[in-house]
């Protein structure tokens, strides 16, 4: 089960772990095809060319495999989709809940991945 975006998809927890541990900078948007999630996917697709040092992925929130993000301690208080998480060298360094605009996302990318 994958989302209908043009981003690269993470389908399993094992793949998620493999990606974050083998790639320095990773952004994953975990959501559905809903109005709060779609703008974030759009922005990520646009940023792929600009932030070549970051790997952009999505993951279907309702997949059982997405527990790796749903149950992350940093997301424990989240009650709004999407859950967007940022990893540096395998470590979760930032997480946001609900819709984010381009400026909010690039601020995080610049702060953690520059």
């Amino acid at each position: 089960m994958v989302l209908g975006t043009n981003l690269k998809h993470i389908e399993t927890a094992a793949k998620h772990n493999e990606i974050i541990n083998s790639t320095e900078n990773v952004m994953v948007c975990c959501g559905r095809m809903g109005p709060m999630c779609l703008p974030v996917y759009d922005i990520m697709e646009d940023l792929e060319d600009e932030y070549t040092n970051v790997a952009f992925y999505d993951m279907l929130f309702d997949s059982p495999e997405a527990h790796v993000i749903r149950n992350a301690p940093e997301c424990s208080n989240f009650m709004g989709l999407p859950f967007t998480v940022y990893y540096k060298n395998g470590k979760l360094v930032k997480a946001t809940s609900s819709i984010q605009n381009r400026a909010q996302i690039t601020t995080i990318l610049d702060e953690y991945f520059s």
Binding site: G80, L81, T96
Partner: protein, 305 residues
């Protein structure tokens, strides 16, 4: 000049304008703050778009976007419009405070957006107890008590849909009556999980890591009470996204852009299309028609130069 036409907004009117203008070989930039497709992407299924039996709003948006790109449109999405200059021969937009692009003509197609309450704590608890989308976030509130703010069709219908998850739904509304259709009012009133706080408004959201309670003011007595609550869903209608045009274009008292029959605003070379302009009917089909007219008139304008 960087472009012939800059289109501000990537909903159905903006994308259609982009398709028509770029197909006519104009150099076109579409800038968009939210999601490409605008409010159209919120629609799960569209059954009344002529020529298409049934399609999701997301799919229709993707197709329109692809058409615009195929004809040569440059599309920048998720950007923040930090300045716009509409007077004079050279129009311009500034994006994210960094890049400025110029054009001979501009089409405003910014549509509408959900209205915020604009009270203390609203930004802080977005996604941590405050939501604007029942479909997206309803299932986070299983067996919890929540508030729905609003009195129109969206608030009433979403309150009923949220009873699938929540143990209790309180509708907080500023008036003593509802603006929704009678059938929506009747359904909400008949539901055993829904109760009402009329002539009241939320004045503050309170919590630490997530929303824990709200302060509610009675508009009759002025009394302020606190209510412990897990979530608040806000459905208080749409506003045209035209705040940035105050003092730049003629707007009516609701903030809608005033246009003539050619969708020309009071500034030469500046056109408006879709839900942001003065109009009574706001449908995808009317937005598409507006985009067509605005693009053709903008092409006329730049060709006369």
């Amino acid at each position: 000049m960087d472009f012939d036409i800059i289109i501000v907004g990537g909903g159905p009117s903006g994308l259609t304008a982009g398709i028509y203008a770029s197909r006519a070989k104009a150099k076109v930039l579409i800038v968009n703050e939210g999601s490409i497709g605008g409010q159209m992407v919120l629609t799960h299924q569209i059954d009344n778009y002529p020529g298409v039996e049934s399609v999701s709003g997301y799919q229709l948006s993707k197709t329109m976007r692809q058409q615009a790109k195929t004809f040569g449109c440059t599309i920048k999405t998720g950007v923040t419009l930090t300045n716009i200059s509409l007077d004079g021969e050279v129009k311009s937009v500034e994006l994210d405070g960094k890049q400025t692009f110029t054009a001979k003509s501009i089409i405003i197609a910014t549509g509408g957006r959900s209205r915020n309450l604009n009270v203390k704590g609203e930004d802080e608890f977005k996604g941590k107890g405050i939501s604007y989308c029942a479909t997206c976030d309803g299932d986070f509130y299983r067996d919890m008590e929540i508030i729905v703010v609003g009195g129109g069709n969206s608030a009433l219908e979403e309150a009923v849909s949220l009873t699938k998850y929540a143990s209790k739904v309180t509708i907080v509304h500023q008036f003593d009556h509802f603006q929704g259709y009678q059938h929506a009012i009747d359904e909400a009133k008949a539901h055993s999980k829904i109760n009402f706080m009329l002539e009241s408004r939320i004045i503050e959201f309170i919590g630490t890591e997530k929303l824990e309670k709200v302060r509610i003011e009675s508009l009759n007595s002025g009394e302020i009470t606190e209510m412990s609550i897990s979530g608040v869903f806000i459905f208080i209608g749409y506003v045209p996204q035209t705040e940035f045009l105050k003092d730049k274009l003629e707007l009516n008292s609701w903030g809608e852009i005033v246009v003539d029959n050619n969708l020309q605003t009071n500034q030469k070379g500046v056109f408006a299309a879709g839900d942001a302009r003065v109009t009574r009917t706001r449908q995808i089909t009317t937005a598409v028609a507006d985009g067509t007219v605005a693009a053709l008139r903008a092409l006329d304008y730049i060709n006369q130069k």
